[in-house]
Point group: C2
Chain length 521, copies 2
């Protein structure tokens, strides 16, 4: 698997004069391959091909798309360690983590394949004609959901496999019947090329049209902006910063035909330490907290950046234990020098806010390692300074102490939207937990009890989403089978001859799909 550095515009790889290089995340050294930077012409051609492929691709049966997704997973597996090893060089993430991430990536492709084979996700509905109905007869009405159109997928920095070129957004868009134009994250162009070529081999093996998948790279923001602006693009999947997500949303809203942007952006994942749990197991909670916070240098959307509790001796014990645990974490290289610089700036900015006190830092290490940091503040400071609620991407957290439960409840009500909130609780904390639940349900896509938010299961019940600014559309999830719904739209067929209907809706049910008949599911 030699990397060529080419852009993958459908089946037509091409090199461009302007190139960039990947950087070894651990050493900071430039890696050899010169990767082409996509031009406006490349963006336009990838979108044109995607548009041309759309009608053919969306008309494939769920079973055909399932085979395609399984084939992509096979091709990723066939890369062996080449893929995680390249991802390791480009991201600095440990191999064990990347092997797990690869399993997750192929697992979610196969999960969508199973979803398609189960045949419900196209939501076929038939309301038969009622010619005898009075005062007016009812027509024959049939509905199915079709892929919304070509989807632009932005690879994330922090999951070079699972949220990138062949990640969840791509898997759910392809499952929905949408061609994908992927925009490689500039920090891992080699990983992206390997994954992109795997997808293109699957396109070829499955006999799908050219343009079902393209991959564009390059560091310039203009590439993403051109992609989202292109008239052929019907929706956008993005995981990244709040600034990035808002910028893409603004571009999408300003188009002559606005399109939806599903941006997963910003979350500090509050953890509530309720009194009984804190009293009985402050040390264990502190240790688990630091373990969650320091995992992957805190470079997770679900990293626990805010701890909330009522002030007192138990919380003091928790803080002391957390500070001790922090001193023993192994510093980990951050994904990119830019992320590292942003982390340091965020920590410095938080440290300078009134009422914010440094509690502890982790060991210092190489120039690009994350220097884990814990701050404390009281509720009053937190409630009066919105900066204390800003996400700092990395192993930094703020512990906020409240004088009483009422204040804790007030802090909860004032939180922004979150991907997750967690309750650390014992049975005797149930009343307080019950009082918090309605607030937490308004604030977050996922609520955990006695767990830590890092680690997102890929399954039907998962919600990896949440109210703004956690995402740009809190009615969706980017992980789990529900992710496909972002890229589907319903079409209704009234009195159409069988020959004009999609196979999913024809008399005799040739695709053997589950279909809702007259409202009965």
């Amino acid at each position: 698997m030699t990397l060529t550095g080419e852009l993958l515009v459908g089946s037509r790889p091409r090199a461009r004069a302007e190139t960039f290089h990947a950087v070894d995340a651990t050493t900071g050294q430039t890696l050899p391959t010169a990767f082409s930077c996509a031009t406006a012409e490349d963006v336009g051609e990838a979108c044109m091909l995607a548009d041309a492929a759309y009608d053919t691709y969306r008309a494939t049966s769920p079973a055909e798309r399932a085979r395609f997704l399984d084939t992509i997973a096979e091709e990723l597996d066939a890369l062996g360690d080449t893929l995680p090893e390249r991802a390791h060089r480009e991201s600095g993430l440990p191999m064990a983590r990347l092997l797990g991430e690869r399993a997750r990536t192929t697992g979610q492709l196969r999960l969508f394949a199973r979803l398609l084979r189960a045949g419900r996700c196209v939501d076929a509905r038939i309301d038969p004609a009622q010619p005898e109905r009075t005062p007016i007869p009812r027509a024959d009405l049939r509905q199915i959901r079709i892929g919304i159109g070509p989807v632009a997928v932005f690879g994330a920095s922090n999951f070079p496999l699972a949220f990138s070129v062949a990640g969840g957004d791509t898997a759910s868009a392809l499952a929905a019947g949408c061609p994908v134009v992927a925009r490689a994250h500039p920090a891992h162009p080699g990983t992206s090329e390997l994954a992109g070529r795997a997808i293109l081999r699957a396109v070829e093996r499955c006999g799908l049209p050219d343009g079902v998948f393209s991959l564009l790279g390059g560091p310039a923001h203009a590439i993403g902006a051109a992609l989202v602006s292109d008239g052929a693009i019907a929706a956008v999947g993005f995981t990244g910063s709040r600034a990035g997500g808002l910028a893409l949303s603004a571009i999408a809203a300003a188009r002559p035909v606005p399109i939806p942007v599903f941006a997963e952006m910003s979350s500090i994942n509050p953890v509530f330490l309720l009194p009984a749990a804190l009293a009985t197991r402050a040390d264990a909670l502190a240790s688990a907290f630091i373990s969650s916070l320091s995992m992957g240098a805190g470079q997770f959307c679900t990293s626990p950046g805010l701890v909330l509790a009522i002030a007192g001796e138990s919380l003091d014990r928790f803080k002391a234990a957390a500070a001790r645990a922090l001193a023993t974490v192994t510093p980990q290289t951050m994904l990119t020098s830019s992320i590292h610089a942003t982390y340091k700036a965020g920590v410095a900015a938080l440290a300078a806010r009134p009422g914010v006190h440094l509690l502890a830092t982790g060991p210092e290490s190489g120039p690009r390692a994350c220097h884990a940091t814990l701050f404390t503040a009281d509720a009053d400071a937190f409630l009066h300074d919105p900066v204390l609620s800003h996400e700092i991407f990395g192993s930094c957290a703020l512990i906020v102490s409240c004088p009483d439960f009422e204040t804790l409840h007030t802090v909860a009500r004032r939180l922004e939207g979150q991907l997750t909130v967690s309750l650390q609780m014992d049975a005797t904390d149930t009343d307080q937990a019950l009082a918090l639940m309605p607030v937490l349900e308004r604030k977050a896509g996922r609520i955990l009890a006695n767990g830590w938010p890092t680690g997102v299961e890929v399954c039907p019940a998962m919600v990896h989403g949440g109210p703004f600014p956690a995402t740009s559309d809190g009615r969706t999830t980017s992980v789990g089978t529900g992710a496909i719904e972002r890229f589907l739209r319903p079409v209704c067929y009234q009195d159409l001859p069988d020959a004009l209907l999609p196979a999913a809706l024809r008399d005799g049910n040739p695709l053997a799909l589950h279909r809702m008949i007259d409202g009965t599911d």
Copy 2:
């Protein structure tokens, strides 16, 4: 049922010094009741009450909400002819139509009640824990969809019952578990008050919290703007003009926390007359077309405003027959003098475009009646002038002749998004229809064969929606059971004790809902 003209802010009706009057649509005379204009304070209070009611209301069971919806329908029925008679005075729409619209309004409330009782729409999912799984155990994960929050509903001008205060947006939002703050259309404040009071009686009968429903009136755009800007509002339902929908979308996007706007805006509902159908039944098609076009003075979102066909003798016959039929239509009073003035201006503007020819007009009548108008143009003119694609709300249509099928196909590809497209076809037109289908599926929410787009069935398979600018979100419908999905968002519960779970997800399934277990539906 004496009208008071009061604002219905939750259970606290109130009068304001600034008032406005309804107008008898047929005579233009001012009607007696003085209706209060909502102030910024009223908007704020209605939103605050809705927010306060939200947690209680969304926690009701689907069965409780079903009872509420049925009770609203009962209360509307209990108004007897008072409601349609008032709607007739304020809208000029014929009583027969309004009796049908009332049946539709109560029918859709009852349809959502049945949907709730069927227990699937909350989409309960349980992925049980797998403590033995390697390398890491799986947590217990459960998901349900909850109401997104208080919804602002804007009453439409053209359906004073079915798309207004107690109309489809209100029914689907209440079904979802969302309080509603309705903004009465200023053209029918009395109809709105009657419907609003019916809903409030149902709130009381069902023991639901104050603030589940409020009704605000007044002619100023500032009322709607304040409503959409209010931090308590989580989503907007709107049916009206493109300008209105875009204005509300811009306000919603500019909020500190942006919210979704489901605006149904603009559609010219193209009808394709395919050659064999046109050759064999030009006269019958013309008669049915004029019947659809002139119904309700063309004041339907689905009025057929564009006819497309290949030039020739058959199309000439169709035009001649349409012109004859148009001469015999009964002119109908338009909904408001403003809509009438906009109609006349739109007709005049279209008449002035190069290549647009007047084919025929209907009879003239009173000062506010719709003067039905038919224009013709060729494909070249249509393709080069976007004004020819603009919606003219009323009985005005443009017949576009194409030199050949290839041009017809090109015109189809260049259409904007539509609520509907219709094919008039015989069996021998199937090849052309098949060639058009992929284009039509991209363009419209509903595709009809040998029918006319006016008349929207309320049923599970209906899609009353479509790509922009037909709506602001082509992934949704505002009619049919799918409308509820606009106002739901998923929440995932991880390892929560049974006591903290919503009843729908508790062990033992106390609500006896359908639940997806481990992905099996």
